[in-house]
């Protein structure tokens, strides 16, 4: 396990922690991008360059833009920042955090207690992925299109209410 792997993993985790502790939404979005980039590195290190690329392009590139866009529309200001500050008292985050740490401990305990598995770690190129994507999984591609369609229509449906409701 080399340092790059350690480093990117640490960046990912730190970024995630920063995301959930920021007071300003835009900061959080930026940290989320950092996390995603870290994760993309991890993907690359895992021998999945295609996934890494998609992570950067779609996730960090496209989805995050949605967030930024919405934050702009919401027109958050200083008051929101104060409120977030108010909400981030230790008293408030302590309980959930403990719960999460407990869960994390359980997961780590059970994962690490399982025997070390070393498989053949050869990279999976984009071609491999593409072949299976449009081979055995081609129906899934169709199905996921319906997923996107559902998301689209729902978002549209809800969004339309927004204008009508006023």
């Amino acid at each position: 396990m080399n340092t790059l792997a350690l480093f990117s993993g640490a960046v990912t985790l730190l970024g995630a922690i920063m995301v959930i502790t920021r007071q300003v939404a835009v900061h959080a979005v930026l940290y989320l991008v950092v996390t995603l980039l870290g994760l993309a590195t991890v993907f690359a290190l895992l021998g999945a360059p295609f996934a890494a690329a998609l992570e950067v392009i779609i996730y960090a590139g496209a989805i995050m833009v949605l967030f930024v866009f919405v934050i702009m529309m919401l027109n958050l200001g200083q008051s929101d920042r104060e409120r977030e500050k108010e909400w981030l008292r230790p008293r408030i985050w302590l309980g959930p955090a403990l719960l999460s740490i407990l869960l994390c401990a359980e997961l780590i305990y059970s994962v690490s207690s399982s025997p070390q598995q070393e498989g053949p770690l050869a990279p999976l190129s984009a071609r491999d992925v593409g072949l299976s994507l449009f081979g055995p999984y081609v129906l899934m591609v169709e199905l996921v299109s319906f997923l996107l369609l559902a998301g689209l229509i729902t978002a549209f449906h809800i969004g339309r209410h927004r204008t009508e409701g006023r």
């Binding site: 008293r91 408030i92 985050w93 959930p96 719960l99 999460s100 407990l102 869960l103 997961l107 059970s110």
Partner: protein
């Protein structure tokens, strides 16, 4: 001939049903005549039967089985009638006295609105009584036994507009019901032992020695309790005086002549059974003696005419029990018969008298009545003499004398021979005879011979007078069929009933003592109350004792204190179903606990998530709800569930 037996029961029963069904549609006269006619038919039947019995060469008991009642593996019973001398005496008494009383009642009850109910109950009573008497099966007897009870209840409570009357009726029924239950236990005991309650079967089993002494004692004890309750003996005596609340014919028929003697009849019928249980026999005689003494004392201080007669009935029944206890059941039956005559007479006369005095029952408000109603005076005097047992000229003398003389020589096998229980009992009985004469003549002197106090109206109708005359005749001369040996060896009655008694030579002074006690009573009564300026209106001093005695020695109050009040109190306590409350309470408690748990759980989670302050501010309504609508809450629950699942599934 056997078919007369069911007919005997059928006539009154049919008339009762007829009267109940047509209630309110027939005129009072018709109702009365229907009932009287039915009883008359029964009386005719019984007289026919009696003739048949008396003149047949070998008077064998008549048996008739009507139908099988029930038949199981362990038990069988039939609806069956038996006519033997004992029951013949009883049916004669019941039907003839019953007929006379019904005749009397036609006129007496004419004005009453519920006359159909009255006569219906009366005839039903006669039917039940006949069933009781004729039954050849104790179980069948029990039908009549309870039937007379319920009829008595209906009749005592006849004037139900007055709560006192219904209370008396209920008291009578409850008291006798307690006895009935005991009797039922006795019957059950016998039934489980022998498998049948047929009297002959029972006796056969007894003679075969298949009934153990313990069982026998227990069973007879149970039966005795039943008989005591029915016959108003100690400790059940309290219901009878109260039962005088009913119409007078009822008192005469039920509470003097017939129903109360059912206990005597039962024991006489089963005398073989009782003879085999000496302990119970002794108990019977002691209770009889105590009762006769106590009741006589009580009667002495009563002021209510009907109550005097009621207590005297109890006292006379005590005589009969005494006789039964000493084994001379024939004497008891004899006294039963004569008592039926003169007590019915006394009651009916008293009823006629009271009716003419505008329902005045207090003897001290009467007086000098011999002038206005000489006929009634004669009748009452006849009855009173018979009750007192004035020698030679009354039936009561012979029957009482028979009892007295037999007591003296009675033998109690359980006691050591030196203990003179028989003599003590004889002394009590003799004192009782004296007291009887004292109180009944006290009554006569006060009511008939004192200064005139109350205006009386009208005259006794002929329809009422005829029965009185008949009964007077019977009271005076009904006893000649059986005489003490000293006077004349006439033993028609006992011969008729059973094999002749082994008559021991009785000393003459016994007879003299028995004859002199009533006369002494009369004399003293005359001294005390009979003269124009009475020595006293009331026995002086001992006001407390008198008051207590007047109230029946406080037994009523004692029972009220011991049983009735606690029962009422407990019933009041439990008037609501405790279990009901328990279950409702559990329901409430569960609800309370669940809301409490919900409450605490919510609070705990609130604390743990650090939002106590905010939630407290946002109100109690939120506190009570887990389902508070908050996404993060729900998420926290999900995560907690996941944690728990993982913990239980993975972590060993």
């Amino acid at each position: 001939m056997p078919y007369l037996l069911p007919l005997l029961v059928f006539f009154p029963l049919a008339s009762a049903i007829f009267l109940f069904v047509t209630a309110g549609r027939l005129s009072a006269r018709t109702v009365g005549w229907v009932a009287t006619g039915a009883i008359g038919l029964s009386a005719l039947c019984s007289i026919t039967l009696a003739c048949f019995f008396l003149f047949s060469a070998v008077p064998a008991p008549i048996h008739i089985i009507l139908w099988e009642w029930m038949h199981t593996q362990a038990f069988s019973a039939d609806i069956a009638f038996t006519l033997d001398p004992v029951s013949l005496v009883m049916i004669l008494v019941v039907t003839i006295v019953g007929f006379l009383i019904h005749l009397y009642a036609i006129r007496y009850m004419e004005e009453e609105p519920g006359i159909a109910r009255f006569f219906g109950s009366m005839t039903l009573f006669v039917a039940s009584m006949l069933v009781l008497v004729l039954a050849s099966d104790l179980f069948c007897l029990f039908i009549g036994w309870e039937g007379v009870g319920i009829c008595s209840y209906l009749l005592i409570g006849f004037w139900y507009e007055n709560p006192v009357n219904t209370a008396a009726a209920r008291k009578a029924f409850y008291m006798t019901r307690i006895g009935d239950t005991a009797m039922l236990c006795g019957l059950l005991l016998l039934a489980t032992t022998t498998g049948s309650l047929h009297i002959e079967t029972l006796l056969a089993t007894l003679h075969a020695g298949q009934i153990g002494p313990d069982v026998l004692t227990a069973a007879t004890l149970f039966l005795l309790i039943g008989a005591l309750a029915k016959s108003a003996q100690i400790p059940f005596q309290t219901w009878l005086p109260d039962a005088m609340a009913g119409p007078t014919p009822t008192s005469a028929l039920i509470h003097a002549a017939t129903m109360v003697t059912a206990g005597i009849y039962l024991i006489a019928r089963l005398h073989e059974l009782f003879t085999a249980a000496p302990l119970v026999m002794m108990l019977t005689s002691i209770i009889g003696a105590l009762t006769l003494m106590m009741a006589a004392c009580t009667a002495l201080v009563q002021t209510d005419l009907k109550r005097i007669l009621a207590w005297s009935t109890i006292s006379q029944l005590g005589y009969m029990f005494l006789a039964l206890g000493t084994g001379v059941w024939q004497a008891a039956l004899f006294h039963l018969m004569t008592h039926a005559f003169f007590k019915a007479l006394l009651f009916l006369t008293a009823g006629a008298l009271i009716a003419r005095l505008h329902h005045e029952q207090d003897i001290f408000r009467m007086g000098g009545l011999y002038r206005t109603m000489p006929g009634l005076t004669v009748a009452f005097l006849a009855g009173a003499s018979a009750l007192a047992g004035l020698p030679l000229v009354t039936s009561g003398f012979y029957s009482k004398e028979m009892i007295l003389s037999s007591i003296w020589s009675a033998h109690f096998p359980l006691l050591p021979g030196s203990f003179p229980l028989a003599h003590i009992l004889w002394g009590i009985a003799l004192t009782g005879a004296f007291l009887t004469s004292l109180y009944i003549f006290r009554c006569i002197f006060i009511v008939f011979f004192n200064t005139h106090k109350t205006e009386s109206t009208g005259s006794t109708p002929r329809l009422m007078a005829i029965p009185l005359a008949c009964l007077s005749f019977l009271s005076l001369f009904g006893g000649v069929i059986e005489m003490p040996d000293t006077l004349a060896p006439i033993h028609l009655f006992t011969h008729f009933l059973s094999a002749p008694l082994p008559h021991a030579e009785e000393p003459v002074w016994l007879l003299l003592a028995g004859a002199s006690a009533p006369i002494a009573g009369v004399v003293i009564a005359w001294v005390l109350w009979g003269r124009a300026t009475p020595v006293m209106q009331e026995i002086p001093g001992q006001a407390t004792i008198i008051r207590v005695a007047k109230e029946g020695w406080g037994v009523d109050a004692l029972y009220a204190f011991l049983f009735v009040q606690p029962f009422r109190f407990l019933v009041w306590l439990t008037r609501h179903d405790v279990l009901d409350y328990l279950i409702t309470g559990i329901g409430r408690m569960v609800r309370a606990i669940s809301s409490f748990l919900e409450h605490t759980r919510t609070r705990f989670l609130t604390l743990s998530s650090g939002r106590t302050t905010l939630l407290l501010q946002s109100g109690d309504t939120l506190l009570a709800r887990v389902q508070n609508g908050r996404v993060r809450w729900y998420a926290a629950w999900i995560v907690a569930g996941l944690c728990a699942a993982l913990a239980s599934g993975v972590v060993p």
